[in-house]
């Protein structure tokens, strides 16, 4: 008896789902249609540094980072952005915040909690925001 009820219930629900159109941020289209293939996003090429929108924002990466490895043996980002190398490479040096451990003590090397750069810093691509917003940076940061 229970099984028959369950079966009927599942059938009703599936008919209901098929009847409505599932809407999402990617636009309305019925479930049984082949969805549009998302257009390929290209990484932004090497460019000028991008200004921040708020003071604590981890700056965006204005160049491609394809194939850059960060592992225990080697950190590709630091090969240009470390305090030792930034002048020679012409890159922005990592800020002093990268040398503090979680208790606020100052360290001599990059803190382990800031070693994996791409946890906070990202490169850019030609991906438009899915939701429009009216965010404006503070005057002090705007340029």
């Amino acid at each position: 008896m229970k099984k028959i009820f369950l079966f009927i219930f599942v059938m009703c629900v599936s008919i209901m789902i098929n009847a409505e159109e599932l809407s999402s941020l990617r636009g309305d289209h019925p479930l049984d249609e082949v969805s549009k293939v998302a257009e390929k996003k290209n990484w932004a090429k090497d460019g000028e540094p991008i200004s921040r929108n708020y003071v604590q924002q981890p700056p965006l990466i204005p160049h491609k980072i394809k194939g850059y490895q960060i592992n225990l043996k080697f950190n590709k980002c630091l090969s240009c952005h470390s305090w030792k190398k930034y002048r020679e490479s012409g890159a922005t040096k990592i800020s002093q915040t990268h040398f503090k451990d979680r208790d606020g003590n100052d360290l001599a090397e990059v803190s382990a909690r800031r070693y994996f750069c791409t946890q906070c810093h990202v490169p850019q691509a030609n991906a438009k925001p899915l939701v429009e917003n009216t965010f404006k940076p503070v005057d002090a940061v705007k340029n």
Binding site: E48, K64, K66, N71, F74
Partner: protein, 185 residues
């Protein structure tokens, strides 16, 4: 023609043809050892440096132009290639005794091997890189900001490819910067 002359000319012609066969065979065998499949037939290479290389631009890129093991590690000119092949007997020896046949042993020797390769490349002014990458034909208009700066100043300073592009194909060993600086690389 006298018999002597016939034998002489016959030997000459036969010798010439045999020479072509043997020389061709020698070169063909040599080229067999100059391929990715041959290099990766050793598990030391197949399990360590080959997967690392597969993540890099020399393995897979937009145009599909690939640089395989011999393109960077074996000189193209015949005389240098033969010298390198003779030196490769050292590698055969180490394969037999199993110097780097486990991942731990490989990591132990990674720095030594890397320094040896960097030293070789620097001593020939990155000749193997220049097999494909010709500085004179580089179009700086197409290069990114950082590349233009590095190439136009660095190479004028007398730097060679391997000075900046260490780790382009395989993972860098631990402690490579200090060791390379100490070795003057």
């Amino acid at each position: 023609m006298t018999l002597g002359k016939k034998i002489f000319s016959g030997t000459l012609i036969t010798g010439f043809i045999l020479g072509i066969i043997f020389w061709g065979g020698f070169n063909w065998t040599l080229e067999l050892t100059n391929s990715l499949s041959f290099c990766t037939s050793c598990h030391e290479m197949r399990d360590n440096v080959y997967p690392e290389y597969q993540n890099t631009v020399h393995y897979s890129n937009r145009t599909g132009v690939r640089a395989e093991c011999p393109d960077c590690h074996v000189p193209r000119e015949w005389i240098h290639k033969i010298i390198r092949k003779v030196e490769a007997s050292r590698e055969l020896y180490h394969k037999v005794v199993g110097t780097i046949d486990t991942p731990e042993k490989f990591e132990q020797y990674r720095l030594t091997m890397a320094l040896s390769e960097w030293k070789r490349m620097k001593s020939v002014d990155s000749r193997e890189c220049r097999n494909c990458h010709d500085y004179e034909s580089m179009d700086f208009v197409d290069q990114g900001r950082r590349a233009v700066k590095a190439h136009s100043t660095g190479l004028d300073e007398g730097k060679t490819c391997i000075d900046c592009h260490k780790g382009i194909a395989h993972q860098l060993p631990k402690g490579w910067e200090e060791a390379a600086a100490k070795a003057g690389l």
